[in-house]
Amino acid sequence: MPLREKHLLGIEELTLDEIELILNTSRSFREISTRPIKKVPTLRGKSLINLFYEPSTRTRSSFEIAAKRLGADSINVNVSLSSVTKGESLIDTGKNLQSMNPDIIALRHSSAGAPHLLAQYCESVCIVNAGDGMHEHPTQALLDALTILDHKKELEGLKVAIVGDIAHSRVARSNALLLGKMEADVWVCGPPTLIPMEFESFGVKVTYHMKEALEGADVIMMLRTQRERQSDVFFPSVKEYFALYGLDTKKMGWARSNAIVMHPGPINRGVEIDPELAEAGYSVIFEQVANGVAVRMAVLYLLLGASEEPGL
């Protein structure tokens, strides 16, 4: 069973079956990354363009490695050095890249809906949303789900607390959508200034108090305070933010004893999470990164319509 849509624009468009298909495919691809020779010819002759309008370390290298492990070529378009600085529009850049016949473009852009716009104008390429403004980051939510499922039997009924800057976070939106579809018990927590209007419409519970969010939680997902997106004042100081919403040993005590701690990175140590905690046993932050490669391999593979069996 392939994916219904040609593009991966968001979790919103995915069905439950498709999410499970991607997760299962990711699991079967994971092993490749542990081989001495980490490459299979599955997508040989295919090419991926990473079109990134925002800085990224993890996501961009993860897409690149995923493509290469499957035998595809990957090209990074360094936007700051390209025609964009000469005023070329996203549509023009997309059409130009399309003329070189790539199979997939992974787009990261600071505006919500940028991948949707590109998909409208570049009909012969698959577009993967690698993060659009404050909207979605679907591969992140998929790798988060994969990581949770490595530690917990199922998502249904699991208490997941998403903490921090919800307003500016595409990770929060994609995760709320995915975990909601899987019927997890999702709580979001942060100062009211960083929780967007009617966030409950995502089917999540909203609280301003860490104790309520963390009590009995199975999963704690800490978000980055996105200082680069914040054009005005959302909280008085980092010190006060950490006191109220930073994850430390004391607050960790409210969660279940086998709770795991996640973070999409990059971490602001000492702002949203105690540096000790980020490296403690219950932290799965590096597992998330490892799973990122597997998930992106699965997405590339499924979007490129590769036939039934991965053929490893």
């Binding site: 919500a112 967007p196 009617e198």
Partner: protein, 428 residues
């Protein structure tokens, strides 16, 4: 030339008239109403089945000339207005250069005269360069022909300057048209702040940005006795403020756009930038409140906020795209379809909204079909139907969310000073 409109239903709230009568136009004036025998030399038009009304006014139009003639010119905008059933339009001063002087006002009027179609009544800037700092030479502009002042596209941020402007404008008895937007509140936003902006991940604009300025304007109008007209009002609470102010006898009036009574933020699909404008599309309950205001009389007029933009400025992400949509050629049929056919307002009330009231607010000396009045006339065929096709617009721009909509109640004839400036081919 003498023109006889025969057998139409003449709807003219200024004389509480709504009946099937003939209307005679001679030397640019209304020469008679009643049962009139045609003479051989007259041009006779069979208006049976049509609505004959005093000429419609769109008091909120961006013509873009001077400065952005790639988007619209005074000529193309005049053609669009005529085709949309408007005999008069008021053009906003946020051109390049800004219409903040007698010279620019004269330039606009000269170009409009050369186009020779609709009446163009310019609005001048309140402050020099729309900077919100010093008053523009309002008296000079009034002398040249402006009928209102506004810093449209912005509000006057400084309350003291707004107060002074309201006081000063009393000399000329012109209204101040205010684009209500507290920019500190709206700065980062691109659509209405609601569950929709949250879901789309696009920064929202709080409704408070509009409402604070509406409240301020009613307060300042009360203190100064100056006339304030709220442009493109869009929220339920803004309307409550206006309603309350009117009850207290404050000299406030307001307009709404057709898109704010036909669309809500929930209609925004696939980040289509033709749904991006200021004020943004609001919630369905705001739409409901506006419909109520249209029917109960608390809203004074309908104005399109015709805002042409090139493809380049709209073929962008939602956050990057320009604000605004065009509306001259869809305003009347949208109102007919959504207000008349759905029985929200009567035809006579519709004529008030499009003609009687804007004429009164701007003191245009028109808006009536009494004998001797200037013969500006709008004729509507209630049964004439189109599928909106943006490619067929007279406007130079295409930024319109109503493409492919089926609309009824089209203007079929626009008459300015007794001259037919637009006629739609309908009756064979």
């Amino acid at each position: 030339m003498t023109l006889l409109l025969k057998g139409g239903r003449v709807v003219d709230p200024s004389q509480k008239l709504e009946k099937k009568v003939d209307l005679l136009v001679e030397k640019g004036k209304v020469a008679g109403l009643g049962k009139i025998q045609a003479k051989k030399t007259w041009q006779v038009i069979d208006a049976s089945g049509w609505i004959v009304a005093p000429g419609f006014v769109d008091m909120h139009v961006h013509l873009r000339e001077p400065g952005r003639e790639d988007k619209e010119t005074i000529l193309s905008g005049s053609k669009a207005a005529a085709a949309g059933g408007f005999s008069s339009i008021t053009c906003m001063p946020n051109t390049q250069p800004v219409n903040d002087s007698e010279a620019i006002t004269r330039f606009i009027l000269e170009r409009a005269d050369r186009a020779g179609l609709v009446n163009v009544f310019p609005a001048g800037a309140i402050t020099k360069g729309l900077q919100g700092k010093e008053l523009a030479e309002i008296g000079e502009m009034v002398k040249a022909g402006v009928v209102a002042i506004t810093d449209d596209g912005k509000s006057v941020e400084n309350n003291q300057i707004m107060r002074r402007a309201l006081e000063y404008a009393k000399i000329f008895d012109i209204p101040i048209i205010d684009h209500c937007e507290d920019r500190q509140l709206s700065a980062a936003g691109h659509l209405n702040e609601s569950a929709v902006s949250t879901r789309l991940g696009v920064p929202g604009i709080s409704r408070a940005a509009e409402e604070l300025d509406v409240a301020r304007d009613t307060i300042l109008s009360r203190i100064t006795g100056g006339r304030v007209h709220i442009a493109h009002l869009s929220t339920q609470e803004s309307l409550s403020w206006v309603r309350q102010a009117k009850k207290q006898g404050i000299r406030v009036t307001c307009e709404v756009t057709p898109h704010h009574f036909t669309l809500s933020d929930e209609d925004i699909k696939d980040y289509d930038t033709n749904y991006k404008m200021y004020p943004p599309l609001r919630t369905p309950s705001d739409v409901k409140a506006i419909l109520k205001g249209l029917s109960d009389g608390s809203i004074d007029c309908i104005a399109s906020d015709h805002a042409p933009h090139t493809r380049l400025e709209k073929e962008l992400t939602f956050e990057e795209a320009a604000n605004g949509i065009i509306g001259l050629e869809t305003a009347v049929p949208l109102a007919w379809e959504f207000l008349i056919r759905r029985k929200i307002v009567s035809v006579s009330r519709l004529v008030e909204l499009f003609s009687t009231n804007p004429n009164r607010i701007l003191n245009l000396g028109r808006g009536t079909l009494k004998e001797g009045a200037i013969a500006d006339i709008t004729v509507i065929d209630p049964d004439c139907e189109i599928i909106v096709d943006v490619k067929k617009f007279k406007s130079k721009s295409r930024n319109c969310p109503f493409h492919d909509w089926r609309l009824r109640g089209l203007p079929v004839m626009t008459i300015v000073k007794g001259k037919i400036i637009f006629r739609r081919d309908t009756k064979v």
